[in-house]
Symmetry: D2
Subunit: 292 residues, 4 copies
């Protein structure tokens, strides 16, 4: 049972905008929505610099019979507002789940946490596929009624493996989540898939980038370990950061303890990042993110 | 020296609005500002309930020669926008410091932290007066060049003391901050002063309301102690909460240790609450607050 | 797979002691252990007051062939040391799992988190039984190969239900964990079971004791919500606190959001409390706890 | 006034021990103390590895007329216990303040926080000297009745400046604290002074080591910024870490805001590190620390 489940309201829509700042943008957008009977429920706007900065906006609006009007609304917004201000924008119904593929290797904590949040209705997604380079978590995933594709990856088979992965997912997903997937995705794969990918890195980036961060943390004697969720780019560990958090460790903790402590942070940070992404809260600002 | 001091931009203004929700409010406001050449730099809007809720908005805008236009802008906004939607609103130049009176008894940590943040330019206020029922902190306050009014308060002299306090402050301050002032302000005093008052309560309200919260915390064996900054109302410890935070304590901590640990939380929480109030981030929503 | 699993060392033992403070206690205990070839690996000692306080000690020691010597060691310690200082003590092999019964109603988050930590080897317990007053989580629990006893409880059937529960568990468990079990256990039941019980309360006690804490938190407009793990006593919500934590909430969060946020804190706090209890880190000091 | 001040008990002593682990160490130490009428009030012991690890111990004890017996006690301990186990140890009266020199450049927040904690009796130190390469904070420091040595440092005058500093401090201090002192101390200086030095680094080391960490944090778009207190070694930013903490930042924060946020973390982290050092809670374990 889940007492906290609340059905998403089908008449609620979300609009995300980014463009060069200039006068009249909010007035144009809000005027556009008002003229079509849409009521703004929540909005956040940020200009990175009062002079010559970039403009970022997230609007949650409510509009009677949104589902049937949405395509026209989007088209009209493009023509009447977006073009004029050279905007990038995204408009969609808040009630439509984001279609997600979860990639995992052998650690189950991030994967299970996302699956569990999804099942209890906390995360508005459709998990359409789990992809793994190992067979270990097959049974676990089956209990959530999600298909599990075991696609082994070696140095030699990587191109072929990525081809299989891409074929499996192309057009079926809006987001790829690397829930402790220990393989690097190539730029070619990301381009072909054409949807964003979120990775959880088990360190407080940029500290301890690379392999074995918890071992590094122990060696260096740090008092906090962290995790970082970021968009995947071709530059390993360098993509725009969405969320980070830390946990306290002490001299008493061995690497195994630190790893466990870190696992708790990883699953929380990744869950927050995925939730925010699916709620359209994250906008890209060059190499960093705006999180509304 | 303070490398972080940045002079406030005199052309930046802030507008706060609350009213019953309804269609077209954002469009009306942003249209109004756009028509006068004001550019919205940042905005946050929240409607408490999509149906029949209340509307809250904070806008930071930039307008050439704001200081000279502000009075007219305010008047026109009242006539053209606010009346139509039955709004409460506040409009002011972001560069004008909030005039503050600090009340204190004998604990110095909250007072000194605010004075120090003010001196280093972190807090855009004018501390016009310190009021205390004890003489202890006189010398300390003098080093900040702030007048110190020592007005003793006993049960018998309270009405007379409050009369003196009111006379001293009336029309001179925009905010009263109780920085560990151990006397209760009467409703009559608050009404006469006519400006908001913020208090720091040394517990995680509503737990341990009343006297000796750290002693209570020790007795109950809690693992975290907290502090709460809230607006002062006639109902002691019941005013709308602005900010709260906690610190970890353990069985090793005696009441004195907990009190010290708590003092660190108190000064941080109060500083955040005062900063947010002075940046017009806090709006009242019945008995609670919206903090943008 | 679980890379963090480390097999418990069968030669490691733990000794917990509490008594009136007095001279020579540590010397007597460490002399006793040394004489039997036991090496102290870790120890924590705390006297609540240098004069007339109580003495608390936790020692982790390593002793060749501990399993075969433990019964004799315990007996000799009782005769040679404990009696002399009127100690309460507990001595046991660190490698022996604590036998646990998990009670749950319908919320799954605390239950699943404990089962998952157990399965991945993070929690050294044997979950011997799940008891619920509802059938909802039966299938979920079955996937962990743990027996599920569905024992409905109404006001009228409570005595009979508790009799069934006690019969089921008597002599089979070392610890009862109430993982969001929405029924109050009677003093009679606790006495009959004769083992400690840990409960997770979904508020930052003593704030918001009683029903609907997250609704209360929303109404009061608090900025943090918390959870409290405590030993169960006959006085509801008044037992010794083991662990607490909080999460930040804002005006944007509805009761459902706060409840979800709270659920994350609940499962973390309960997992820590159970872990610490099973690692013999928690000692009772009247109504509060020492957590080494 | 400071209600939390508690006079240190002159009969309380502290003993710190580190050595190779082996059987009978705790028994030998506690037997030694017991035989001399010292009662152990608190103790923490940790062996880094059950087999072949290092042994670390901190004991707080109470002994009648400690001040007059301490020199003999120390000598006997060296002869009877320390030598046998090849121990490093430190024994001292808990009531004797640590003599401290504070080094600062121009940022006042860490310096003032330490001075203020000292004045209110929170920090058991004697601040015997402030040393600065700038004159800016002279007046501020004077109000605490602490001598202020203004010793400018340029690339050319550095050897001479360090000679002056060393002459000023040699034999007068037990600890040097770099409270945002922007000059690197040479190994020669540290050796000549012969006491430990604690530095506060304004980043979450090892991330953003080097100059301008908050600028780096902004550029990289991190969601948390941190501070690190560590012992100073010849390898810049590489000394053993004593304490770390973080604060949350967002896309809204400019570098100036991040710097302020960071300053709050810096002063807290440094105050904790200095407090723990002065309470003899920190032991060195190679390149990392044990903090009891």
């Amino acid at each position: 049972m889940d007492a906290t489940r609340t059905l998403p309201d089908p008449e609620v829509g979300r609009l995300l905008v980014s463009c060069e700042d200039g006068p009249g943008i909010v007035a144009a957008i809000s005027g556009f929505l008002h003229a079509r009977g849409a009521n703004i429920v929540q909005s956040d706007q940020q200009t990175t610099d009062p002079v010559g900065g970039r403009f970022f906006l997230r609007i949650v609006f409510r509009m009677p019979e949104l589902p049937q009007w949405l395509p026209a609304l989007e088209e009209e917004f493009a023509a009447e507002v977006a073009e004029r201000f050279a905007m990038s924008f995204r408009m969609r119904a808040a009630s439509v789940p984001t279609r997600v593929a979860l990639f995992v290797s052998r650690y189950d904590h991030c994967l299970l946490d996302l699956l569990w949040r999804w099942r209890r209705g906390e995360l508005l997604v459709d998990v359409v596929q789990v992809v793994s380079n190992h067979p270990d978590l097959q049974k676990e995933v089956a209990s959530f009624d999600v298909p599990y594709a075991h696609i082994p990856v070696t140095r030699d088979t990587k191109p072929e493996a990525e081809r299989q992965q891409a074929e499996l997912l192309e057009g079926r997903v809006d987001l790829v989540v690397l829930a402790r997937y220990m393989q690097v995705l190539t730029g070619g794969f990301l381009e072909r898939i054409g949807v964003p990918a979120i990775n959880i890195h088990h360190s407080f980036l940029p500290a301890f980038a690379g392999a074995g961060p918890y071992e590094q943390a122990k060696t260096r004697g740090v008092k906090l370990v962290g995790a970082t969720a970021h968009y995947v780019t071709e530059d390993l560990d360098e993509g725009p950061i969405i969320e980070q958090d830390v946990a306290r460790v002490s001299h008493r903790d061995r690497v195994a303890d630190i790893t466990r402590r870190g696992a708790d942070v990883e699953r929380n940070v990744l869950a927050r990042a995925v939730t925010w992404h699916c709620e359209d809260r994250v906008l890209l600002d060059g190499h960093s993110t705006i999180v509304f």
